[in-house]
């Protein structure tokens, strides 16, 4: 086994920022807004770095798709302990419409090129909330998948994954190479220490274009309009339970 793990990291609007819709309803405002690494991607990086520290794998490669700023996100991964980065340059319209299908094609192509043993992704990004990239990547590669992972144990050629599912926890055993997606309780990401931030400066980030990988980034989707959720209206107070039932019948809720 190559001992190489690919970790996808996405640059998203910071979780604490109040989102504003653009006046033309074409999307949300991103200019001048604070961005950071998707929290689930941080958990994915942490898991990969922990595996390397336990000597279960040899190299952690952080991958991000986007314009020049995506390199900042890769640097954060490097400061957390990733060994090198790959920046897949996607800009302009292609970047606006970049979605799980395109990213999973990229991850699949890179996994083959880098001879990856594992791909670890966050279960979803906090901007799109799609929860599709991991699954699509596994399908494109015809690899097993361990999604919503809250516990991962790499054992030789197999991985034991405890998954968070609706009914509780499910434990599966899958062969490598495989795709894993990190859920909230998988680990607590470490703080990037200042020594590691300074060391990250020397680590390499390779730049590549989707075309170099022979990939087509055309989107099958078109965003028609983006709106804020409807404003909450004031409630109505009633005196008795009978009044309440009457009101509910009136508005057709009962």
């Amino acid at each position: 086994m190559s001992g190489r793990v690919l970790v996808g990291v996405k640059r998203v609007i910071d979780y604490a920022v109040k989102i504003r819709v653009k006046p033309d309803n074409s999307g949300v405002v991103t200019d001048g807004v604070k961005h950071s690494m998707n929290p689930f991607c941080e958990i994915a990086v942490e898991e990969a770095v922990k595996m390397k520290e336990k000597k279960l794998i040899k190299e952690v490669v952080a991958v991000s798709c986007g314009p020049q700023q995506a390199q900042e996100t890769i640097r954060t991964a490097l400061a957390m302990g990733a060994d090198r980065g790959i920046h897949v340059e996607v800009t302009g319209k292609d970047y606006d419409m970049l979605g799980p299908l395109q990213v999973s094609k990229i991850m699949a192509a890179l996994a083959k090129k880098e001879d990856a043993q594992l791909i670890i992704l966050g279960k979803q990004a906090i901007d799109g909330d799609c929860n599709q990239t991991g699954q699509m990547t596994a399908a494109l590669l015809d690899w097993p998948q361990g999604t919503f992972a809250s516990e991962v144990s790499l054992e030789g050629d197999t991985v034991k994954v405890v998954r968070e599912i609706d009914g509780g926890l499910e434990t599966i055993k899958i062969n490598t190479p495989a795709v894993l997606t990190a859920d909230l309780r998988l680990n607590t990401p470490r703080y990037a220490t200042l020594p590691n931030i300074m060391k990250a400066k020397k680590k390499k980030i390779a730049k590549v274009k989707p075309a170099d990988l022979g990939l087509d980034m055309t989107s099958r989707l078109e965003v028609l309009r983006v709106d804020e959720p409807p404003q909450r209206l004031a409630g109505v107070k009633v005196e008795t339970v009978d009044d309440l039932v009457a009101k509910l019948k009136e508005t057709g809720r009962l």
């Binding site: 604490a16 504003r20 405002v29 900042e72 640097r75 400061a79 703080y191 931030i197 404003q231």
Partner: protein, 430 residues
């Protein structure tokens, strides 16, 4: 429906802990026209003194502040102390306590601009006490030791302080001597291989929790600027009495002690550098101390102004937001203008300093302005918060109390003015 509840949650400070893990979104409460650009560029490209590494440092430190410090500030303010050993260990492990200290002792050997970046980010802590306590550890009790201490002394005191294993405090000011450092009375009399120390120190930040004190004492009868030495003193030595924790107007989460020394014996090798040079050593680091304090307060003022804007935008008076009254938005514009001016002075002084220049004049000007501007910002903003500003539930009242110290400690306004006059050559001739 969820959007409105989320908006209310955002104001609650516990929200930070929840969202940092769950990734829950909050929506702005109005569809805005234009986004508000940040006051400094988001990325390194155009910044005067910061590189990508400075920004990465700030981001990482911010996470520690958001997760380990801010959720507990209210409680620590109420208790009148904070767990210095625990917090310093977290910061030390992440490399934030030895930014410009020697690599051989666990430091990073970076230039002072990195210390300024750390200080700026610490201004995001929701009180003044904890940044001050950290500042004492990194830029007041340890610089002289790092520069002039013997290898043995650095091993015993500097290394653990940088790692966050030992808490340091500074013993310079006394009950009878603050601005007038040369008139301190604490004496260290040589007896064989030891110094016997008698006296007391006042305003000792971290004093009730510290493992060691960087003590300035008279070690000879020479002229007052040449008879003092810095000594590393373990606080557990017999004769060291922590007389009381001082009850203050602000900076509540920082424990401030009055300490007495009663025939305390310490080996002579605990002296930092040369005997008699203590006063000079302490003065050498004043530029850094002062710029550090300014970096801190600039971020805090930014935050107070922003919170005041948010509050007055939603608070209505006479049918429109308080913020829309010209007296309010014009005043906030004035204050923000002055904050930007101070920020520029900070960066200019820092840029010159890291190139090896003496920036005493600029650093003193910045400290003077910092203290005074913070009082103006606190006072004006508190007014706009109205009754709410007068309560303990809001940050502006805490800032009002905490920031008042800046014009007093670390070099009073009057001392700063004296220094500037000296450089302007306007003082009476002797």
């Amino acid at each position: 429906m969820r959007a409105l509840r989320l908006n209310q949650l955002v104001i609650s400070r516990r929200f930070n802990q929840f969202t940092s893990r769950a990734g829950v979104r909050s929506l702005s409460d109005h569809v805005s026209s234009r986004p508000v650009p940040p006051s400094a560029p988001e990325t390194a490209g155009d910044h005067l003194i910061y590189t990508q590494e400075h920004f990465a440092l700030k981001e990482s430190l911010r996470k520690i502040i958001d997760q380990e410090i801010n959720p507990h500030v209210d409680q620590w303010e109420a208790e009148g102390t904070f767990p210095a050993h625990k917090i310093f260990k977290i910061l030390g492990s992440a490399g934030f306590l030895g930014v410009n200290k020697p690599v051989e002792y666990g430091g990073l050997g970076l230039d002072f601009s990195y210390s300024v970046a750390v200080s700026e980010e610490l201004g995001n802590i929701r009180c003044g006490g904890i940044p001050m306590a950290i500042g004492v550890q990194t830029d007041m009790a340890t610089p002289a030791l790092a520069r002039f201490g013997s290898a043995e002394l650095k091993e015993e005191f500097l290394l653990p302080s940088i790692l966050g294993d030992k808490v340091a405090c500074l013993g310079v000011s006394e009950v009878g001597a603050g601005s007038d450092v040369s008139s301190i009375l604490t004496k260290a009399v040589r007896k064989g291989d030891e110094y016997v120390i008698n006296g007391g120190k006042m305003w000792t930040t971290n004093g009730t929790q510290a493992d060691w004190i960087c003590l300035l004492a008279n070690t000879s009868d020479a002229a007052p600027h040449r008879n003092k030495s810095l000594i590393c003193l373990p606080m557990t030595l017999p004769g060291v009495h922590i007389a009381r924790k001082i009850d203050k107007l602000g900076m509540w989460s920082s424990d401030t002690a009055e300490v007495f020394f009663d025939d305390v014996r310490v080996p002579c090798k605990n002296i930092i550098g040369q005997e008699g040079m203590g006063f000079t050593y302490q003065m050498l680091q004043f530029q850094e101390e002062r710029l550090w304090a300014v970096a801190n307060i600039v971020t805090m003022m930014d935050n107070i102004i922003q919170e005041t804007i948010q509050y007055t935008r939603q608070r209505k008076i006479f049918k429109q937001p308080v913020l829309y009254h010209q007296s309010v938005n014009f005043r906030l514009a004035e204050l923000q203008t002055e904050v930007e001016l101070l920020r520029s002075l900070l960066y200019r002084a820092t840029a010159l300093y890291i190139k090896g220049n003496d920036v005493t004049k600029l650093a003193s000007m910045a400290k003077l302005k910092g203290g005074r501007l913070a009082r103006e910002v606190g006072d004006s903003c508190l007014q706009y918060w109205g009754g709410m500003g007068f309560t303990s539930d809001v940050l502006v009242s805490r800032f009002y109390r905490d920031s008042r110290l800046l014009s007093i400690g670390g070099g009073a306004d009057e001392v700063m003015l004296g220094i500037i006059c000296k450089y302007m050559d306007t003082l009476p001739k002797k």
